[in-house]
């Protein structure tokens, strides 16, 4: 009966290697596989029996010659400068035909049989998918998204940020000059900085903070900002999400202007007619007016009232034209 001494160093290493969550292979310089652990079997779908003692696995993992040649060429280039490579990313094809992204790290070592290469391959497919998903969300969001390193240097500048501001990623990422471009007026910039500093000093974020930016084409846009601090203590980032509310602001201002104008052009004129009628009543009472004059004065008030009715109709039309969301029943009422 054979017993295995678990205290033996070689056994411990073998156990670690076998049970590691990353694929670990040991190979000769020729590419012949000496070790192929459980994770390597799980990730690639190829068993130890199919792999160990052979060099054919690489053709299986990289079945497309063109891609295989590229990988080989990249490895050769790395190895001209040093005897190992770090965080080298390739896409392998598994036995089932699926693609997995592997992050490779290697180390050259010497065994009694000669030089060997120990390779650790981490399956980062899920990580990359999450990255791609996150990038896609950021990229396709219809709000301006930017991530700033401490000091204000821009690390992320999405497509909406490019469209809203007119400044491309290439102009913005790695720099913090964008804020000077967006807020060219030094006084306004100082005021904003003061306000932001005030908000940040009491809480580490701000919500619905409105600023007026100047785009690359010189246009003025109103942005509503929301921010959050992200990252660890050693590396802090701030993510800022800016919603372009220029049109909403214009609509609000237009609505306010309409309402004010309407109030002014109804309340005031109705008051004028009331006061005129009151005056006319007094004048009639004091017998200061002839019948013709009474008729003329009353006729003027009728015309005034008719004009007010026309004005209200025009306002209703204007509201209908400006707002397509009005329910049909209200639309008909306003049209009437």
């Amino acid at each position: 009966m054979t017993t295995t001494n678990r205290e033996e160093p070689g056994c411990i290493e073998a156990g670690i290697l076998e049970n590691a969550l990353v694929m670990i292979t040991v190979m000769e310089k020729s590419g012949k596989i000496l070790v192929w652990n459980q994770a390597a079997e799980n990730i690639t779908g190829y068993s130890k029996e199919e792999v160990i003692g052979k060099t054919t696995i690489w053709k299986k993992l990289y079945p497309k010659k063109e891609y295989r040649d590229t990988v080989t060429q990249q490895i050769a280039t790395i190895l001209t400068g040093k005897k190992y490579f770090e965080n080298f990313e390739t896409i392998i094809t598994t036995r089932s035909g699926a693609s997995r992204i592997i992050l490779w790290n290697t180390k050259e070592s010497t065994h009694k049989s000669g030089p060997i290469i120990v390779t650790a391959g981490q399956d980062i497919t899920r990580l990359r998918e999450l990255d791609a998903f996150r990038d896609s969300v950021i990229e396709n969001a219809n709000v301006l998204i930017t991530v700033m390193e401490s000091g204000g240097t821009i690390a992320v500048w999405n497509k909406a940020a490019e469209e809203i501001t007119g400044y491309s990623r290439a102009e913005v990422i790695g720099s913090r000059d964008i804020w000077k471009n967006l807020y060219p007026d030094p006084e306004y910039r100082r005021t904003l900085t003061r306000q932001i500093t005030g908000i940040i000093s009491t809480k580490s974020y701000f919500a619905n903070f409105e600023t007026r930016i100047r785009t690359k084409t010189g246009e003025s846009r109103v942005i509503s900002w929301n921010t959050r601090q992200i990252g660890e203590d050693s590396q802090q980032f701030a993510i800022a999400i800016g919603r372009d509310i220029t049109e909403q602001k214009k609509a609000e201002e237009a609505l306010l202007a309409y309402m004010t104008e309407m109030a002014m052009r109804i309340k005031q004129p109705v008051g004028i007619i009331r006061d005129n009628l009151l005056d006319i009543t007094h004048l009639i009472h004091d017998r200061k007016l002839s019948l013709d004059e009474i008729a003329m004065l009353l006729d003027a008030q009728v015309r005034n009232a008719a004009q007010i009715a026309t004005n209200v109709q025009e306002f209703q039309k204007a509201i209908l034209e400006k707002n397509s969301e009005i329910p049909e029943a209200y639309r008909k009422f306003l049209e009437g």
Binding site: E261, M264, G271, I272, M296, D299, A300, Q307, N311
Partner: protein
């Protein structure tokens, strides 16, 4: 009774915006005409509310010297269709919204009286709101105030207090020299 407008400012051809409550505005009109007439000015009343014929009656009763007053009437023709102009006393405009005709009438009457001490009294901006949008009123008042300054003539614009929105009020304030709220 204290004067509404300062005679020195009037002599310096200043332009005034006089605010009054709706109940007081008609009396302010009469008080101003008496005041300005007593200072030796000929007043050109631009009326958009009460017709010339009624105003002359009211002025006469209150002791206004009617030989010192002439009118641009934007009410009568709008009500009764036609009215014959009386040279030197009254000109008629078909409709208060017809700013072109109103502008022409102001220009012509000021030319006719270019040798006299003249003051324009516009009664009132508030009534114009029935016929015109505030941007159009603002443009028209700007035109008239410019004309007055070019011709070195003083002017008084009447309006009811609290009846004008902040933007229009703001604009009117920039066109005139002095705003007086008479209550």
């Amino acid at each position: 009774m204290p004067l509404i407008v300062n005679p020195d400012e009037l002599a310096r051809k200043r332009i005034f915006l006089i605010l009054a409550t709706p109940g007081n505005i008609r009396q302010r009109n009469i008080d101003l005409i008496k005041e300005v007439s007593d200072l030796g000015y000929h007043t050109v009343v631009i009326t958009t509310n009460f017709p010339y014929s009624i105003l002359t009656k009211l002025y006469g009763e209150q002791g206004v010297n009617l030989s010192k007053v002439s009118f641009i009437d934007a009410v009568t023709r709008n009500s009764i269709g036609s009215a014959k102009e009386i040279p030197g006393i009254v000109r008629f405009i078909n409709n208060p919204a017809n700013l072109t005709d109103l502008g022409i009438a102001v220009t012509e009457i000021l030319k006719e009286r270019s040798e006299e001490k003249v003051c324009i009294l516009f009664d009132s901006i508030s009534t114009l709101l029935i016929y015109l949008s505030s941007p159009n009123i603002s443009k028209f008042i700007h035109f008239v105030t410019n004309k007055l300054r070019l011709m070195d003539i003083s002017g008084i614009f009447l309006a009811t207090e609290k009846g004008l929105d902040p933007m229009l009020m703001n604009q009117l304030t920039t066109f005139v020299d002095t705003v007086i709220d008479t209550g």
